[in-house]
């Protein structure tokens, strides 16, 4: 630490010297600050000199148990960034940011920053005379934020709840997680904007709001506080508040082919967006361009102008300042406007026909894929001519489609492969235009046993598969298990997983009854089917902890077994709930009532068939409380809170920057850092080389090959393995999963092969096609520095070469495949 001080002293001396020998100092400069002369303004308004030792003591206090950090470094850097007369609040904030910025060097600085932030938040709350949990809830109620039900529950059990609060659990957060909670989740005073609860008070509030008795709520609180399980963001945002809209997803059937219906949908979408929901909306029933409008004898402009209006409407609804609204539009590829639909997100062309805020998905029947494979023709129809196609799937759809073709009802014919190639181009250029498969989604859905119950679309993130109709808007409540927290010394802890699943399913089921329903069609549907979506996050963390390469057979087997255990225990819990409270009203219309479970639709036989047969029998007799149980959501924000990798996804980069509404944050792969530290390889040079290589370690030959193999990024593992892994777990996922696919520089050939494979593997849905920027921003601090101590020239050249090849020769680049 003396080096740091010397550095600062030296640089101060240098500045002074430069000033005097500078040859044109025509204007006076402010003398450099030194900590000796600087003062801070305290919270009570008094000024006092900045005391380096005081800051060092505060940092050291927060750093117990962290052995790789230098408190003096944080303190001196903090003071160096300070101006004379700054407030102590600014001083605290600066020390937190300073520690956070050192994370790339040493992940423990992230822990330190989190602890400093935890203290900062505690001070903010205590400064408003809020100490115990019950005080926080009472204040929230006084301010009109908390509902009476929660207030009564907390007041009735105040003593027990207050003493259960465990501040130590704050230590599980890393900086980004806690920052996210602080910036966006904690309740704030409507006027002063100060937070009125600490992170643990927040978790306990959510737990109390979601349970009926104290012991249950304490059990749920421990799970959340330990970051073992987290409900989805809408549940975290709104539980216990005066607007308890707790669901994540809404799936709206296509508006009918009428002006009234189209405009009613805009209102539905706005109401659902307002309280944090993501929207899936089908559009296949609306007539195509050129279709006759009888009443005015004019010709329709097709769906694009309606979607343009939807686009504007969605971006106008700001979800309580927390995030912007978001929606995904689903269209079947036989709709005559499909080609224009695929161009909606292009950056060029007529802006009147572009929708930059909407996500797009293709809802694809098997027949289309078969025609693509056979290189056959494909017919496009005006829905007005074939209104029945939307409600058919499987053989019934095939027959109706071919009949319509034979009757000459098609507006136009194209080569199936040409349309498919356009879909692939849209995926490559915009990442959007997701491939989701209508027939498998219907065939393998528990809700479609009775004819007429049809899945018309998936949701905003392609993990929900539920029936919808004009009167039924599908809803789903989500929560995700943090798999990395379910490990013991010998590997994965299936016992703990089973316990977590039981608590989680009960909580998700409870949300259905508590929920505030913004539009009536959501209430009727949700109470009838009672679907929930239990998912996972941190699968990559499990693999890192067990040192399993993502594409290994062991990894796939473990992932499948985890999925099977979650599905089994979720069914068991839902069956228990059915015995306690009754099966969901439409249970008789489900496949489960006939003894059919998800893996049957996949032709898969689980290993321990005896327990499954017993469960099957129990369900047939006693029913299920929930028609659907499992959905793997993207977990973008809650994985940040939990400090784990997202859902079932491979790591995207060993070093990356998150740009969010709360500012920019560096994320470095803590598992890799640990491994490299053990080898003495976590050096500034290696760090810069990882940075230059955009987070890849593949060209750093000093790192042992086995490690490099484990720490491949999503761009570096074969996508075939991701699809195979998804198909293997699919037998136990009764809804679907948000499966992103990654390709550095995609071309049509690769994408068409990949999505054909995904369809044949039996996936219900896929999500974004992630590709990388065509051009990259210049490195400021690494390359421009051209400093001798930095990356050797060879690496720089390679980095340049990699950029060059992907730019100039996307097809011939072996390195990217």
């Amino acid at each position: 630490m003396s080096t740091t001080e010397q550095e600062i002293a030296a640089s101060t001396a240098r500045s002074t010297a430069n000033q005097s020998d500078s040859r044109a100092p025509q204007f006076a400069l402010t003398p450099p600050h030194s900590s000796g002369t600087m003062a801070v303004t305290k919270r009570n308004g008094k000024r006092e000199p900045v005391d380096l030792n005081k800051i060092v003591r505060a940092v050291t206090r927060a750093a117990d148990g962290l052995f790789s950090i230098d408190p003096m470094r944080v303190a001196t850097r903090t003071i160096s960034g300070l101006y004379d007369g700054a407030t102590t609040r600014e001083l605290d904030e600066l020390s937190i940011r300073t520690a956070a910025m050192l994370t790339t060097e040493e992940p423990e600085y992230g822990r330190l920053a989190a602890r400093l932030l935890s203290e900062y938040i505690a001070k903010e709350v205590a400064g408003q005379e809020i100490h115990a949990f019950s005080q926080s809830v009472t204040r929230g109620h006084e301010l009109g934020l908390i509902n009476a039900r929660l207030l009564e529950f907390v007041q009735a059990n105040a003593r027990k709840l207050n003493s259960a609060l465990d501040m130590e659990l704050d230590r599980r957060f890393d900086y980004f997680g806690l920052r996210t909670v602080y910036d966006r989740y904690l309740l704030r005073h409507p006027k002063t904007r100060k937070v009125i609860e600490t992170p643990q008070q927040f978790f306990l509030r959510i737990a109390c709001a979601l349970c009926e008795d104290v012991n249950e709520s304490l059990e749920l609180y421990r799970l959340m506080g330990s970051l073992d399980y987290l409900p989805s963001s809408p549940t975290l945002f709104n539980s216990g508040t005066t607007h308890e809209q707790l669901s994540s997803c809404f799936l709206l059937d296509s508006p009918d082919d009428s002006l009234e219906s189209i405009y009613k949908r805009y209102a539905d979408v706005a109401m659902l967006s307002k309280f944090s929901g993501g929207i899936g909306l089908a559009y296949t029933r609306v007539r195509a361009r050129g279709s006759l409008i009888k009443s005015t004898n004019g010709l329709s402009n097709g769906i694009v102008p309606w979607l343009k209006t939807l686009d504007a409407s969605v971006s106008a609804v700001n979800q309580g300042g927390k995030r912007k609204g978001a929606a995904c539009v689903y269209l079947e590829p036989w709709h005559a406007d499909v080609e224009e639909f695929l161009e909606l997100r292009d950056n060029t062309g007529d802006e009147a026909r572009r929708t930059h805020n909407l996500n797009l998905a293709n809802w694809i029947p098997d027949l289309f894929m078969r025609r693509v494979e056979a290189d056959a023709q494909w017919s496009l129809f005006d829905p007005k001519a074939v209104p029945h196609l939307v409600d058919r799937w499987g053989d019934s759809f095939n027959a109706a489609y071919e009949q319509a073709e034979a009757a000459g009802l098609a507006s136009k014919q194209v080569k199936a492969r040409e349309l498919y190639a356009r879909m692939m181009r849209t995926l490559a250029q915009t990442g959007n235009g997701w491939m989701t498969f209508k027939d498998k989604s219907n065939r393998a859905c528990n809700q479609t046993a009775k004819e007429g119950n049809v899945v018309h679309l998936s949701n905003l993130c392609t993990e929900i598969i539920e029936v919808s109709s004009q009167g039924e808007t599908a809803v789903c409540n989500l929560g995700s298990i943090n798999l990395g927290q379910h490990m013991h010394a010998d590997g994965f802890d299936f016992g703990k997983l089973a316990d977590t699943v039981r608590v989680a399913v009960r909580q998700l089921d409870r949300v259905i009854d508590l929920n505030f329903y913004p539009i009536e069609s959501t209430r009727s549907s949700n109470l009838k089917w009672r679907p929930v979506g239990l998912g996972v996050m941190g699968l990559q963390d499990v693999f890192f902890k067990l040192r399993l390469p993502f594409d290994s057979v062991e990894a796939r087997d473990l992932s499948t077994r985890i999925a099977e255990e979650i599905y089994y225990n979720a069914l068991v819990t839902s069956h228990e709930l059915a015995l306690e409270r009754g099966a969901h009203p439409s249970f008789a219309d489900t496949r489960a009532a006939q003894g059919e479970l998800q893996f049957d639709a996949w032709g898969v036989t689980p290993s321990d068939m005896a327990r499954w047969d017993a469960l099957r029998e129990n369900i047939r007799k006693g029913g299920l409380r929930n028609s659907l149980l499992i959905a793997i959501a993207p977990t973008a924000t809650i994985a940040s809170i939990a400090g784990c990798y997202e859902c079932i996804e491979p790591m995207v980069s060993n070093l990356f920057k998150r740009e969010t509404l709360s500012g920019d944050f560096l994320q470095v792969n803590k598992y890799l850092v640990e491994e490299l530290k053990q080898l003495g390889q976590w050096t500034a040079e290696i760090r810069d080389r990882i940075k230059l290589a955009e987070g890849s370690v593949q060209d750093i030959k000093e790192i042992p090959e086995r490690l490099r193999h484990i720490y491949r990024t999503a761009w570096e593992i074969p996508m075939r393995s991701l699809i195979d892994m998804m198909a293997a777990r699919g037998a136990y996922i009764d809804q679907s999963a948000s499966l992103n696919l990654f390709m550095e520089s995609p071309n049509i050939g690769q994408l068409s092969s990949m999505y054909m494979y995904a369809w044949k593997a039996g996936l219900k849905t896929t999500y974004y096609m992630r590709s990388r920027p065509a051009t990259k921003i210049t490195k400021t601090t690494v390359t421009a520095a051209a400093a001798p101590a930095l990356a050797p020239v060879a690496t720089q050249e390679q980095a340049e070469a990699a950029v060059f090849c992907s730019l100039e020769n996307p097809e011939y680049c072996e390195a990217c495949q």
Binding site: R14, R23, A24, M424, R658, M754, M756, A774, T780, V782
Partner: protein, 355 residues
């Protein structure tokens, strides 16, 4: 683009082409010969620049306005007003020098292609800052004041005077004939590359990235990313011209030129520090004057290194948030648009490609 990559990839082509002593880059005239191409690297830079095309319309300022209204104190508001005032005039000055001086004297058609592209980019930047200014400053009076920055705000006037001094120095020069004239021209070019684009703008970027590291003004930061990428290209071009001129006439870079460059950088740092005193006069935690000075010295050392000169200030980068600039981003689609997708996709439908 790092200099070293250009050095290596084009060294052979240049030395072969530069054997006939009569065709030097800074010789007067309007060379029209593109084949055989003498300086392929300039043509490559031109094409790279085209590939980086962006438009002001892609930048979403909607969150910025909310930030300014609700999250900015007087000190930060002052900072942003000064910054916008500087940006609004800075790029125009650079564009003027490009047209009046650089285009005239850099005598290779492929290099002039790059300069034409750069001129467009400077106009784009002016358009970006104009849009920014109109969005940030709703009052017509405040807008007019911002464009009056050169006259009304002493710290900006100092910077402008510094620029004009080096522009005027070769203003009267219609043809570069003598060694002394070539030397003067080089100094002008170095001033623009190392001091104006390479130091003044880098300081301005630091303010922007500081704000972004606190989650503020995402629209400004997004546009600045692209401006920053363009400016990096302009600098790389200018330094390459300097390198070629030096290779073709090695004794141009003598001790007296180096002394002039050092003095120029000292002056530029002093100008920018004066500006910093004004910008930060309200007190902004995380941006002290001392750190700003150290940052300027660190940047100046980098420019010296790019000119193949010894470091002068030996300062380290004090701003960790500038490191963030180098790391790949991962945008959560709920929060902002992902703007990094590929532009051109090729190939045909097959079912047996590797993936």
């Amino acid at each position: 683009m790092p200099m070293s990559a250009f050095d290596q990839s084009h060294a052979i082509g240049i030395s072969a082409a530069s054997t006939p002593p009569q065709s030097r880059l800074l010789d007067p005239g309007f060379n029209l010969t593109l084949r055989p191409m003498r300086y392929a690297q300039f043509y490559d830079m031109y094409r790279d620049a085209i590939r980086n095309t962006w438009t002001v319309e892609e930048v979403d300022f909607s969150l910025d306005v909310n930030d300014l209204r609700n999250k900015f104190g007087p000190a930060e508001r002052h900072l942003i007003e000064r910054l916008v005032a500087f940006f609004a005039t800075g790029d125009s000055i650079v564009a003027n020098n490009l047209v009046l001086n650089l285009y005239k004297h850099i005598n290779a058609p492929e290099a002039r292609m790059y300069l034409s592209r750069q001129l467009y980019e400077e106009a784009l930047h002016v358009q970006f800052y104009l849009t920014l200014l109109d969005t940030y400053l709703p009052e017509p009076e405040a807008r007019a004041k911002a464009f009056d920055a050169i006259e009304k705000i002493p710290a900006i006037r100092h910077k402008a005077e510094f620029c004009f001094k080096w522009m005027d120095s070769i203003d009267k020069l219609d043809r570069i004939e003598t060694r002394e004239q070539r030397r003067q021209f080089l100094l002008n070019l170095i001033c623009f590359a190392a001091c104006i684009e390479g130091l003044f703008f880098f300081a301005a970027f630091a303010y922007v990235y500081y704000l972004r590291s606190r989650g503020l003004l995402h629209g400004l930061a997004a546009g600045t990313n692209w401006v920053f990428r363009d400016e990096s290209g302009h600098m790389a071009f200018a330094f390459e011209v300097i390198r070629v001129a030096r290779e073709e006439e090695p004794d141009l870079f003598d001790e007296s030129l180096k002394a002039d460059i050092a003095q120029m950088l000292d002056e530029a740092i002093a100008c920018e520090q004066l500006f910093a005193e004004d910008v930060l006069s309200g007190g902004v935690a995380g941006l002290s004057l001392k750190d700003m000075r150290q940052y300027l010295e660190y940047v100046a050392d980098q420019r010296l290194a790019q000119l193949g000169m010894a470091k002068r200030y030996h300062a380290r980068n004090p701003f960790a948030f500038m490191d963030l600039q180098d790391v790949q981003e991962l945008t959560n689609f709920f929060e902002r648009r992902v703007s990094s997708y590929q532009v051109a996709v090729e190939g045909e439908v097959t079912f047996d490609a590797a993936f």
